[in-house]
Amino acid sequence: MTILLYLVPAALGLGLLALAAFMWSLRSGQYDDLDGAAHRILNDDDVRVD
């Protein structure tokens, strides 16, 4: 059962990492305009065709 010593912290650590990522995305305003984000990805004006 010593395997639990590795697996349980690993599982919790991954979960916490995801939670921290979510909190960061929330704070940086990535949920303020969900409809816009869905369409902005289709705008390719930042690609320069030479």
Partner: protein
């Protein structure tokens, strides 16, 4: 006098020395607008950053200095066909945004904890039927406690606060049994873990919190959308006043910074921004938004004019006597306040149920404990069973039953152009049996429209329509709209010239064409009949009058017929002259009507009908309707209504059609029916789960399955709320 639209007073200072201007944008129909707007603004001098929020339909612009002039940006957007108005921010909206973010954080924490504790719980459940050692099980339970206690303590806060507030006020809401259930589940689980027991309920408590937050986050997301739409409409309606400063320059300022003594310029065709006395100029004023009367009032210098009325003819300069529209409003506001108190007594279905439900389950739990003790089991075992009863009856499905339906119904209404103010109006709207309509601006279109152009040939009317495009005047707009409806494309003449107070002229095929006042076009005037207005047209030898006035909404007759067919009693209450009201009533087939009704009269009549047991829906747009809107069981106002009126209404409908009234009633009726079904489903769940819990058969596995199962069933059933028989289906 130089007139320059100067919006720089709307700039707000933000961090690192930059300045911010937020604009509400109307007319965005597709996502192409994002790229179109942002790239069009890229070359405006002084503007460093422009970003359109597609959800709220607001554009945030950033400027390098405070004295930058944003008007080129606004003109650019207007040329692209968008209507733009400075948006000043809304304190209530910011508050709500902060709360939604907090709920999202709580949702994330409870979700994280629920998943991890479930991971441990499933191992324990699997181990219990195979070969888990008591030591490993204890370790897993303690680990669960380590995750669950802080997570629940954080993410349960919204419930705990609301439950405390309700208890302090001696009230009962769903938050109370929820908080008790969560606390007991966690407390008992810690106690049981310390005594090496087989079962712990950490996962149930966390899952409960997660599901409930999910419902509330959805509810807030919907409300954010409708709230920002309503705030944008408000910003677009009376955006600015043209203030004349000491040097004679005109600058556009927010109308709420006007003070008594300021001088403002009101162009023909715009609304007057504040109460005041006319200094120079002469015009006819349309006060229908205030009083419901369609007859135009003639004003000249020295006359008092009210905020919100429409200046129809010449330009006026007005000395402000009261900012906003205090003088006329104060009486109306008092009536509204009195009326609103009667509505605040309405108790929502969910709270009605909570008041009965919470005492019943708590008594049931107490009786269970006593029963087991009488049957000879230990106090500890009896308490464990009693707490299991409380955990399984913790009203997850009940608490979701109404909000999920509200979210979906509000979403369906929003798609049909209706913006609702709160979820609880759905229940009130569903009970309606009588509908009272205001006439002017509600049954009729808020803007004047073309009534008769038979004096002109089709070709002449086309020229008139194209000329009219060069003016913002409501009469000109009525002509261009009417011509545009017959032909898809209508282009303005590039060299058409508008002469303020007179009309528009342009050389076409070498001959001058004019559209405007009778003297400007040299056309003889018939006797003015008071309610409809005339625009004159001349092109060479061809000349004639176009009459423009109030006309019914295009689908009004059909909508009234459908309402009557669905068993609603329909009535008209108008402040306008009885003759005009009678004509409209007979056109619509409404036998029950009253004309010449004062604001107080409207409210009183409505109160009498309510006392007789009728559930009354009031639909109106004018300031004179506001007290009646507040007194009604539920109320609706078109988006063109007065500010105060919209604030008193439960919902706003947009567009030219009247059918939203019908759709609103059908969708809310259906919504309420689904809500009651949901409460029924939640009750059936309890009828099955409670006996099992009382008999001591409920393990954490059963609790988890039953609670999430019932929540999912309720949420799925709520999807049916969107399918109602609406006007176009």
């Amino acid at each position: 006098m130089r007139t320059v639209a100067d919006y720089s007073s709307f700039l707000r200072s933000v961090a690192d020395g930059r300045f911010n201007l937020e604009l509400a944008v109307e007319g965005i129909s597709s996502a192409d607008a994002i790229a179109e707007i942002e790239s069009a603004l890229a070359s405006i001098p002084g503007l460093t950053h422009a970003r359109l929020n597609f959800t709220t339909r607001r554009l945030t612009t950033e400027w390098i200095r405070a004295d930058c002039d944003p008007s080129p940006a606004i003109r650019t957007l207007e040329r692209l066909g968008y209507r733009v108005a400075p948006f000043m921010g809304d304190a209530a909206e910011n508050e709500e945004d902060r709360y939604t973010r907090w709920l999202l954080r709580c949702l994330a924490v409870s979700g994280f904890a629920a998943v991890n504790v479930m991971l441990l719980s499933v191992s324990v459940w699997a181990g219990n039927v195979t070969d888990i050692t008591p030591e490993t099980r204890d370790l897993f339970h303690w680990l669960s406690a380590l995750i669950a206690l802080p997570a629940a303590g954080f993410s349960g806060q919204p419930f705990f606060y609301k439950a405390l507030r309700a208890l302090r006020q001696g009230d009962m809401t769903m938050d109370v049994p929820i908080s008790i259930g969560i606390t007991l589940a966690l407390g008992m689980s810690v106690f049981e873990t310390a005594h090496h027991a087989e079962h712990a309920y950490f996962d149930s408590a966390l899952m409960l919190i997660f599901f409930l937050h999910l419902g509330r986050v959805l509810d807030h997301a919907m409300r954010k959308r409708t709230r920002s739409a309503a705030a944008n409409l408000a910003a677009l309606r009376i955006p600015v006043a043209s203030k004349i400063n000491a040097e004679g320059y005109v600058s556009e300022v927010p109308s709420d910074v006007l003070v008594a003594g300021d001088l403002i310029l009101v162009a023909a065709g715009s609304r007057i921004a504040a109460d005041g006395v006319v200094e120079t100029g002469q015009s006819r004023i349309d006060a229908s938004l205030m009083t419901g009367e369609t007859e135009l009032a003639v004003v000249k210098s020295g006359d008092l004019v009210h905020a919100g009325t429409l200046n129809q003819h010449g330009a006026l300069t007005i000395r402000v006597t009261a900012a906003g529209s205090r003088t006329l409003l104060s009486d109306i506001e008092k009536l509204i306040d009195e009326a609103l108190t009667s509505r605040s007594r309405y108790v929502q279905l969910a709270d009605q149920i909570a008041r009965i439900y919470a005492p019943i389950v708590h008594i049931a739990a107490a009786l269970t404990a006593m029963m087991w003790i009488t049957l000879g089991s230990s106090v500890h075992d009896a308490l464990v069973v009693a707490i299991a009863v409380l955990i399984i009856t913790c009203p997850c499905a009940l608490a979701l039953a109404a909000p999920v339906v509200q979210v979906l119904t509000a979403g369906a209404l929003f798609q049909k152009g209706m913006i609702i103010r709160s979820g609880d109006m759905i229940e009130r709207m569903a009970e309606i049996d009588t509908i009272i309509f205001d006439k002017t601006g509600t049954l009729t279109l808020p803007e004047p429209s073309l009534i008769d152009a038979s004096q002109l040939s089709n070709d002449a009317l086309l020229i008139a329509g194209r000329l009219a495009l060069s003016s913002h005047h409501p009469l000109a707009r009525a002509v261009s709209e009417a011509v545009r409806e017959k032909r898809n494309r209508l282009e303005p003449y590039p060299d058409a010239q508008e002469i303020t107070g007179s009309g528009i002229r342009c050389i076409i095929d070498g001959v001058e064409a004019r559209l405007g006042s009778q003297s400007f076009c040299n056309v003889t005037v018939p006797v003015w009949n008071g309610s409809s207005s005339y625009l004159a047209f001349r092109h060479g030898s061809e000349a004639g009058l176009i009459s423009v006035g109030q006309s019914l909404r295009p689908d009004a007759v059909e909508t009234i017929k459908r309402l009557k067919a669905n068993g609603y009693q329909v009535m008209i209450l108008s402040g306008d002259h009885s003759d005009i009201v009678r004509k409209v009533a007979s056109e619509l087939g409404i036998p029950d009507w009253r004309g010449h009704v004062l604001p107080k009269g409207k409210r009183d009549l409505l109160m009498v009908m309510k006392e007789q047991g009728h559930k009354v829906l009031m639909v109106g747009d004018g300031l004179n309707d506001a007290p009646a809107l507040a007194a009604a069981t539920a109320s609706l106002s078109p988006a063109t209504g007065a500010d105060v009126t919209q604030a008193a209404a439960d919902a706003i409908f947009t567009g030219k059609r009247l059918s939203p009234v019908f759709d609103m009633l059908m969708l809310t009726r259906k919504g309420k029916r689904v809500m009651i079904e949901n409460f029924g489903l939640a009750l059936i769940y309890n009828l099955i789960a409670v006996p099992l819990a009382v008999l001591g058969y409920v393990t954490p596995l059963i609790a988890a399955a039953a609670m999430s199962g019932s929540s999912v069933i309720v949420a799925l059933n709520a999807l049916r709320a969107r399918r109602a028989e609406t006007f176009n289906s």
